[in-house]
Amino acid sequence: MSPIFGMVLLVLIALGVPVVFALLAGPIVGFIADDKMIFLQTLPRRFYSGIDSFPLLAIPLFILAGNLMNTGGITVRLVDFAKVLVGHLRGGLAQVNIVSSVLFAGLSGSAVADTSALGSMLVPAMERDGYTKKFAVAVTAASSVIGPIIPPSIIMIVYAYVMNVSVSALFAAGILPGLAMAGGLMAVTSYLGKKRAFPRNERRATVREVGSAFKHAFIPLLTPVIILGGIVSGIFTPTEAAGSAVIYAILVGLFFTKSLKLSHLPKILTETGVTSASILIVVGAAAAFGYATTLSQLPVRVAEFLPEISSNVIVILLLLNLLLLFTGMFLDSGPAIIILAPLLGPALVNYGIDPLHLAAIMSINLTIGLATPPLGLVLFVGSSISNVPVSAIAREMLPFYLVHFTVILAVTYVPALSLTVPRLLGLY
């Protein structure tokens, strides 16, 4: 089969056709052009079987759990807990923002949820404290990409499904890079804090205050323990863990924080449904597209072609990261991973790159793409909650991008950063 279907995909995406239709139109044009009309009937079947998967159920369930916990007042308690921990540092609220992102990351699998939940709470607070609004949004956006790196993570569920690696192992692979990113962002914030004289909370929280905040945050903080503990110990599949997290979030919201009302449920459920469906149909369409990719033997050709560029793993990985960063500037992480991973994966594994390591590189790199201009979902959400233009946020984020890129390079060239935890836990 000729590679025309791939070109159709690229042209249509560039024109502004929704990705899901571009993924379906590519093979349709390809089959017709090759006079293989008989294959057209495989498209709906692939689309269907692409979604017919138990592991994918974790997507709506984790999104639902995140939405429930956000409405359930859990976010407020996490931020309060972060305040007593790091509020006294230079640039206190900025540090609180980053630490809250780490805590929130253990509950939610999406960077957008992180930006909107923490941004709408912390950006006004930071402004009152004397920070510029654009810096407040920048630190929110920069730290929210930690969300899908520390498990649970929607993008990792999608990658694991498409490329057939273990979700649990990939989740575990994200833990250290996520924490490293948080550490880097906090160091940069602290440096900027000294240079720009950011405010700080003069008084450090007393042991009693820390204890009280911890008591309030303890029950919500058990959520990541349930999710991760259940998955990592092999008791739960990720889908079962997500289902349990939903029930736990409902119980906590209704009976512990008492800020979740039954009247909130219809909106939470419907918005979860629409968000999840938009992701799922792209996964289904990608399965249809993947069939054409396989027929065309494009991955084989890529595998033959890549060594002609360079036989050096270091160079190839650098090129991979540049390609991912470029793609991430324009495309959402889910569609990007669905298109690129099956195409490049086999060729890169030929270089001796570990499949789980590759999974970590691609997931983390494309997650950071959510925060890079010109098209970055996190930037758009940050802009819409603050009315700061995307370009101003992106400029303010320059020092934070430095941290993002350093983490990408570290994950790429130090495999131990991603592989140690899964190995220690016996998942890989």
Binding site: F21, Y48, D52, L64, T270, G273, L280
Partner: protein
């Protein structure tokens, strides 16, 4: 033409409202079925045989129905750099072109999806008796709705009427 568009807009918005309610219910059902599976398996130590299969079928309907809402809200993931860079006339022409591509693609998927669904009459779900038609039908239903939504967008751009103006210029 305007009367047709007006009816189409009203019809699509009713479809989208119905789809929104249905997606909420589907999410709730998925959560209940998966949680029931966990409860029976780990707490009662007596796995239910049907929860896995049922939850997968609910997921397919969720993808189909929820995406109709996303399509109606024009929230599907797309790169808008080119449309945003054009003048208003160029943007309108491009949007018509995009809508036509969506209509063509969805028609093919709806057509072959329908024959897939009809073929599934003879197959039954594996843990309970139900023709798989009732699951595979989700694909042509969604694709059919996409055609209607894209048709509305194409007509909206060509007649310069939109939902906000209630199809009256």
């Amino acid at each position: 033409m305007k009367a047709v568009l007006k009816n189409l807009i009203a019809f699509n918005s009713r479809v989208a409202t119905f789809a929104l309610v249905a997606s909420g219910l589907l999410v709730a059902l998925i959560a209940i079925v998966v949680a029931a599976g966990v409860f029976w398996r780990y707490v009662l130590n007596d796995s239910l045989s049907w929860t896995e299969e049922v939850s997968r079928y609910l997921l397919i309907w969720l993808a189909a129905i929820g995406s109709i809402v996303a399509m109606h809200r024009r929230e599907l993931v797309a790169i808008d750099l080119l449309p945003d860079a054009l003048s208003s006339g160029g943007r309108r022409a491009l949007r018509v072109l995009i809508s036509l591509i969506v209509i063509g693609t969805s028609t093919v998927v709806a057509f072959y999806g329908w024959s897939l669904a009809v073929n599934a009459w003879g197959q039954s779900a594996s843990t309970f008796p139900m023709p798989l038609f009732f699951v595979t039908a989700a694909i042509p239903v969604a694709a059919g709705a996409y055609v209607l939504m894209a048709l509305e967008q194409a007509l909206t751009e060509t007649t310069k009427c939109d939902r906000a103006k209630g199809a009256v210029e």
